[in-house]
């Protein structure tokens, strides 16, 4: 966990990932495992945002399909992220549909939004956040914003790829991600500094994403 820190770090392995996928498509089992280890953290995070604690099960289903259909895939490392995210999303939506038929007690809600508003600095506010709190915050966003933020920040997709996964126009996804990040910054209690920071960042990094 040491060196990253950049929101784009998921993309740092796209070259490695692309090579691994290529070898896996030729039948290399170890290469498939390597691709799994590169993709799975972001994919699982995305699924956590979508289906909460059932993310592991949904991810397993998704990987069965990924492993089966790997020969069909065409593209590079970044493309593989998008392809796998699409498969995982379909599995998650199936899961949610089944859940709607047989409702289960809600996973979260409630105390999730009692957030640190008293921190004097940005750093303190950010340092104090836990995995649960971050997930709850993201899941507290409107669905389109939550997914746009997760695909961009957690899975590491660029704008067009996120749009393709979600089946929406890139402009709409860009706006959703921007609004989601802005709202997250505000809820972190650093609305002044971070809100502006996110505004700047949103326009810059979203603009630069191809």
């Amino acid at each position: 966990m040491g060196q990253g820190g950049k929101p784009r770090r998921a993309q740092a392995y796209d070259g490695e990932l692309g090579a691994a996928v290529e070898r896996a498509q030729e039948g290399d089992e170890a290469a498939f495992a390597a691709a799994y280890r590169i993709v799975q953290p972001g994919l699982l995070g995305y699924l956590r945002g979508l289906v909460g604690e059932d993310a592991e099960d949904v991810a397993s289903d998704a990987w069965l399909e990924i492993a089966r259909d790997l020969g069909r895939f065409k593209g590079d490392g970044a493309g593989f992220r998008g392809w796998t995210a699409t498969i995982a999303r379909h599995r998650a939506l199936d899961h949610l549909r089944r859940q709607r038929v047989r409702p289960r007690p809600a996973v979260l809600e409630a105390d999730v939004l009692e957030l640190p508003g008293t921190h004097s600095t940005h750093e303190q506010a950010l340092e104090s956040i836990s995995t649960e709190r971050a997930l709850d915050m993201v899941r507290g966003l409107p669905r389109d914003q939550a997914e746009a933020v997760l695909l961009r920040v957690v899975v590491g997709l660029d704008g067009p790829a996120s749009a393709r996964v979600l089946g929406k126009r890139p402009g709409a996804v860009r706006t959703a991600a921007y609004r989601g990040l802005k709202r997250l910054a505000r809820e972190l209690g650093v609305a002044g500094a971070a809100g502006e920071g996110v505004t700047d960042d949103g326009s810059r990094t979203l603009g630069e994403s191809k």
Binding site: A67, D69, A194
Partner: protein, 284 residues
């Protein structure tokens, strides 16, 4: 995370504590927010069992030939830009070819078609391709504007000063000018026009000589065209005497329009007063 991933192997299969994000390094401000969310939400712990299940599924699919399945549209994640750039290039080249062919067709067709279209004064012909007529005698340019004015005047007053040479000669002239134009650009006239020109010249080798003779006779034949405006001017200067007598009828108005278009500033002053005078004079 990075070291572990690039290192691969079993070192990745450790379990993280859920609140591991505290103390996570982040850069300032905005990037920090995204890094924070990423670090908090990404599940950097690889469950070895889940991985083994996925790899087993991979092995099964590979060994059963499932990996030879065809790529569907949704499986093609190759970068869009490359395909877009290719199609853009194809579109542009098709467009360029179309424009080139269209230009050739237009250049070959334009001058040859015009004699059929108008009344034979040749006024519209330089209009369509006047900038290209570099090799034409310089008198043709003024004669063009003058003759167009003259055609307006002649159509108004039905004066028969127009075509002095027959249709076929004009045709040949047009074909010759088109031929010279096209020849200068290293291209060939379109087939019917070229064949007609060859037929008229009496052989492919005779075309240049034929055209030289045609254009030589054509330049003097433009004379009537240049003489027309002078006739019109004469009429215009004579008209102030005539218009009151005509009681400003329909022909008077037509003449006025023709002159205003054809003869420019010189006559503008005179017809206007005469028109009003004629009008008032004729009413009572």
């Amino acid at each position: 995370m990075g070291e572990r991933l690039s290192g691969g192997g079993t070192s990745g299969r450790r379990h993280a504590h859920p609140d591991a994000v505290s103390g996570h390094p982040y850069t300032d401000g905005d990037a920090g927010l995204e890094a924070l969310i990423a670090a908090a939400v990404r599940q950097d712990v690889i469950d070895a069992e889940a991985e083994q299940r996925a790899v087993a599924a991979f092995r099964t699919a590979r060994d059963t030939g499932a990996h030879r399945a065809r790529t569907r549209r949704r499986d093609d994640w190759r970068p869009r830009e490359r395909r877009a750039r290719l199609s853009m290039r194809a579109t542009l080249s098709v467009l360029a070819a179309g424009l080139t062919l269209g230009g050739v067709a237009y250049a070959a067709m334009g001058p040859g078609a015009s004699p059929d279209g108008d009344d034979g004064t040749g006024g519209s012909r330089p209009g369509t391709s006047a900038p290209d007529h570099a090799q034409q005698p310089s008198t043709s340019a003024p004669s063009a504007t003058e003759s167009s004015a003259a055609s307006a005047a002649s159509s108004a007053s039905s004066a028969s000063g127009g075509p002095s040479h027959p249709e076929s000669a004009q045709d040949a002239e047009a074909h010759c000018s088109a031929y010279e134009q096209v020849k200068a650009q290293g291209r060939v006239l379109d087939a019917p026009a070229w064949q007609r020109l060859v037929a008229a010249a009496g052989g492919e080798d005779e075309v240049e000589a034929y055209c030289a003779s045609v254009t030589a006779t054509a330049v003097p034949s433009a004379g009537p065209g240049t003489s027309l405006p002078s006739a019109g001017a004469d009429r215009a200067t004579a008209r102030p005497d005539r218009t009151p007598a005509d009681s400003s009828g329909g022909t008077g108005a037509d003449d006025g329009a023709g002159d205003a278009a054809g003869n420019g500033t010189g006559n503008d002053g005179t017809p206007a007063p005469t028109a009003t005078r004629g009008g008032t004079g004729s009413r009572p």
